[in-house]
Amino acid sequence: MQKSASRKERIAEYKELIARLTPKSKVGQGCLRAFWVGGVICVLGQTLIDFGMSAWHLTQAQAGTLASIVLVFLTAALTGVGVFDRIAKYAGAGTVVPITGFANAMVSPAMEFRPEGFVLGTGAKLFTIAGPVLVYGISASVLVGLAYYFISL
């Protein structure tokens, strides 16, 4: 009994030591970079929407789709040439949160697992990162949809 107590104490002591000696991520700097890069991406998206609506007379929904398509395409291309991960390393959440993060999460496994073949490599592993987001995103939307349906009855 006493031995297990002393082991617990030692683990607690070691965890304290780890907390003291492990350098922390620079949260302030990370937030600042995420804010400006993420902001620029959003401005780009908004510009595309405005452009679609004014130049091509698209509806708001159509222009939104246009913005998504362009941003996803740009991200996929930048991922393909090996540049996107460098931008993301700098920007963190700034590139993850907009639709760019989703596009990168699809393209990077597609490239990574290509050597294992189109079926068991790219095909099977395509959703390794984006999969959980889809599963819980769609599940949540179903729940919200049901709630909305019953509330508005």
Partner: protein, 345 residues
């Protein structure tokens, strides 16, 4: 009944002090830009080393390092009586595939990043006992293959934490021979003692802080060695850890101090802190089986051969991490095996 070649609980004495007859290493372009870059026997121009996959590149680096080592010792592949090697990938495939080309009788080793000292420890026993000689001990790793197995696709945009480490692309190889066997040329060094490490787990579950997971195992092995032999850290020119990195090295000093063995900072060295420049953005340092193996071959053994160092304790450290058990909430056990390597005068 006590085993006759044993000291205390964990320490082995090599009565016939096997010689390290030759050694070689091959590494990737990032490693070549580091401070040891001009000492490598072979440098791959690109991470894929002209192969179809990164896995094949890892195999090729290992195979070529073996061939260079055997060339240096003027030994044919057929004369080598055993190969002991391992790496980080599932089923230690790169080592097995390299052994397939070399056709040397093969024993697979797995000790995560502690593989180089594990191989030396066991290989030394084969030679010391007169069961096999010469014996080839190998360890290798590749950044890209380790990332895909343990972490994310290479092009996935994420940020690494400050305590994370960079897996070394490279392979290191050592040829052990019987003491006095001069057919391989002048020996680089000799093995005199070894210490088999216990698996130690202090509840670390952060896979981005491997140094913290491994440091208690390193401390346990060091303390066991000092207790078994009655030696002090001052008996060594260097106490060399494998890949504790910046965080783990600090933790080792503190934790050993708490366990009653204070380590002199000026005698400590970590291969993970030696292989890259701080400016190379490797965060807390290098890691991987290849890290300690490449530094052993390119930096440590030459210093023992030249006489600059007389006696070192080489202790590669491994985090016994599996993505599966990690996701199931299991903590990360560590292990560290030590061998005492001395210059031959």
């Amino acid at each position: 009944m006590n085993a006759p070649n044993r000291m205390g609980n964990q320490t082995i004495v090599y009565r016939n002090t096997p010689w390290i007859a030759a050694s070689a290493c091959a590494a990737g372009p990032r490693e070549a830009q580091g401070p040891l870059g001009d000492r490598f026997d072979l440098v791959a121009d690109t991470p894929d080393f002209g192969q179809e996959s990164y896995e094949q590149a890892e195999v090729a680096l290992l195979r070529e390092a073996c061939r260079i080592c055997l060339d240096k010792a003027h030994v044919g592949e057929k004369s080598v009586q055993a190969m002991l090697g391992g790496d980080l990938l599932n089923q230690i495939m790169p080592s097995s595939l390299a052994a397939r080309s070399l056709r040397i009788p093969f024993l697979g080793m797995y000790g995560a990043c502690s593989t180089m000292s594990e191989g030396l420890l066991v290989g030394g026993l084969l030679v010391d006992g007169g069961y096999a000689a010469p014996v080839l001990c190998t360890a290798g790793s590749h950044y890209a293959t380790a990332e895909r197995q343990y972490r994310f696709p290479l092009e996935y945009g994420n940020q690494r934490t400050p305590a994370s480490q960079w897996t070394v692309t490279g392979a290191g190889v050592v040829l052990l021979a019987q003491q006095g066997d001069a057919v391989y040329g002048k020996p680089l060094a000799k093995l005199t003692r070894g210490c088999i490490g216990r698996v130690v787990d202090m509840g670390v579950n952060d896979a981005n802080n491997m140094g913290a997971a491994m440091a208690p195992a390193a401390a346990a092995t060091l303390c066991a060695y000092f207790d078994d032999t009655g030696e002090t850290p001052e008996r060594f020119d260097r106490i060399i850890t494998g890949d504790l990195g910046y965080v783990g090295s600090e933790l080792l000093l503190e934790w050993c101090g708490k366990m009653g063995h204070s380590l002199p900072r000026e005698r400590m060295m970590d291969c993970g802190l030696t292989i890259y420049d701080p400016g190379q953005d490797s965060h807390a340092g290098g890691s991987g089986c290849g890290c300690s193996a490449v530094v052993l071959s390119s930096y440590i053994l030459p210093k023992l051969q030249s006489g600059e160092w007389q006696r070192v304790l080489f202790m590669a450290t491994g985090a016994l991490l599996s993505p599966t058990t990690s996701q199931q909430g299991e903590t990360i056990p560590g292990v560290a095996h030590a061998v005492v390597i001395e210059g031959v005068r």
